[in-house]
Structures are given as structure tokens and as C-alpha cells.
Symmetry: C2
Subunit: 164 residues, 2 copies
């Protein structure tokens, strides 16, 4: 009901266009991702993701490297500049969230986090979906990531192609 307005309250102040920020944040989580995985994560087609990577590479934010074993795959990594940009994106996002929830008391935040965690674990569909969910997570603050925990409980590890 009303709860989705909190969605809009924060998403309407989103830091940037979306795909670019998502890509940076996602690569901050999972360095060495392939373009294919990144495309799934940011919700774009392969072609669109290639252009996105082109732009970000032109801006010096990410770089393509050769994959160790597979000659086709390009492993994507953040450059130091890209890491800074990614941090800024996540920081601004955190600021919006914190600002939006500033009226809640600490114990209420705890309740909210608990509910959110259970919702996430319940809604998690498969491994590809997990990339989408986590694309704008704060990696440092996500040491006990519920998504990772849920994946672990299901016997799935990230980085493998165990799609469901």
C-alpha cells in the first residue's frame, strides 16, 4: 500500500540515470564480471551493456581485461577513478536512505531491517536475480548479506553458472 511510496521517496532522488551507477556499484561488488553478467545485473541487453561499458571505459572508470582461461570473455574491473565514482554513487544513495529514514527510531530501523531481510530472502528467485538485487547494495555494510546467506543455504555459490 503506502509502503511503496518509500520507494518513490528515495528513487525519485536517485543519484543518476541508473544503468551507469548500477554497473559501477555492481563491479565494486564483483570485480571481474563478464559483460553478460553485467547485462543481467543492470537489466540491459548485451548490446546496450557493451555501449555502457564503452562509455564508462572512455571515461576511465572501468577497464576490460583478458579473461584468464576463456579467450572470449572480457573481465571488467574498476579503475581507481571508477572506484571513487562508485563510492560516490553509493554514498549519495546512502545519504538519501539515511535522510529518508531519519525520522525512525533506532529500534524501528532494526525492525525494518529485519523485515526487509526476510522479504528479500523470500523474493529471491535465482542467482541472476541476486545480481539485480545487490546492484546498489553497500558492500561494506553488507557483511552479513542476506542474499549471500540465502544463496548459501540453497547450495549455490556466486560466480558459477548455476542458474535456476
Amino acid at each position: 500500500m503506502i509502503s511503496d511510496d518509500i520507494v518513490r521517496a528515495s528513487s525519485s532522488r536517485a543519484p543518476e540515470a541508473g544503468p551507469a551507477a548500477s554497473a559501477l556499484a555492481l563491479l565494486a561488488h564483483q570485480p571481474g564480471l563478464s559483460i553478460r553478467m553485467l547485462a543481467v545485473g543492470v537489466g540491459l541487453s548485451h548490446a546496450g551493456t557493451v555501449r555502457l561499458v564503452d562509455r564508462l571505459a572512455t571515461e576511465g572508470l572501468i577497464e576490460r581485461r583478458e579473461h584468464s582461461s576463456d579467450g572470449r570473455t572480457r573481465a571488467l574491473y574498476l579503475t581507481p577513478t571508477g572506484k571513487i565514482a562508485s563510492d560516490e554513487v553509493l554514498a549519495s544513495r546512502d545519504e538519501v536512505i539515511a535522510e529518508g529514514l531519519s525520522i525512525l527510531k533506532p529500534d524501528e530501523l532494526k525492525i525494518l531491517c529485519d523485515m526487509a531481510e526476510r522479504v528479500l530472502r523470500d523474493r529471491l528467485e535465482n542467482l541472476e536475480h541476486s545480481y539485480r538485487i545487490c546492484r546498489l547494495c553497500c558492500y561494506e555494510g553488507c557483511t552479513n548479506c542476506p542474499i549471500d546467506a540465502e544463496l548459501h543455504e540453497r547450495g549455490v555459490e556466486r560466480g558459477k553458472s548455476g542458474d535456476g
Copy 2:
């Protein structure tokens, strides 16, 4: 922290591109809106909103009427077809929300709604902002809309140009 993931969990399954759906839902709330107000609501420029209205009018979803007192302003109204489309958008959105929160118990939902209401009232900045927040609300389910209540407490009524 984690709470913003609930954002993504629902927004990643959004019904449509965004502006179009927002416009329909917003016009379902506030028939007779001007293009300017609609532009603020959906977060587009005037020009972009004009094109959006053009498209929706071409599809027979909304119609432009003459304003009663102001000859410049065009009052936008949903056609019956547009009303159906708007209902579908809101229904699919509700479905996503309900599905996402299905794991929560009723009392938890109540707590969540209470927190969301306070967050919204706290984050409400001005009247224009209220249009953005409410653009995808469920009008029927929002009989005691916290935004309206907050606006009322501040002595502001919708439909007037009392920008802050």
C-alpha cells in the same frame, strides 16, 4: 541499509517505462491536471510531457479539454480506455507490492505502514513534491492519505498554486 533493496525488489518489476504509467495514475487521482503539473508529477520537462501527452492522446488514453477559466491551460482527463489502462497499471503494481510483502505478518504490515506514513510526512517538502509522491498511489486504498493530511495540517490545499 538493506531497506533500499525493497526498492529495487519492486521497482525492478515495474509495470512500464515509468512516465506513461505515472501520468495515467496521476490523472486517475487528479483529473483536470494541467500539463505543467503533470510534468512536475512525472519528473519530465514541459516539452517531454507534451510529447508524452501526445502519445497517450494518440493511443486514446487521455484527452485534452479546454480549461474553464484559463484559456491557456489544457485540462487533461482520462478517457474510459485510459481509466482501464490506469487501473491495470495500479493493479499490477499492487500485485507486485503484495507479492513482495506476502511473507510479512499482518501486524508487521501494520507497523510498516505506520513507519512509512511517518517517513512520508517527514520527507514531504512542498506541494509539487506531493504530486511526485502520490503519482503511483492506489487512490481507493488511500482514503486517509497521509500526504493529504500533512498538507491539510500545513494549511495547503491541492489544486491551488501554493508552492513552497
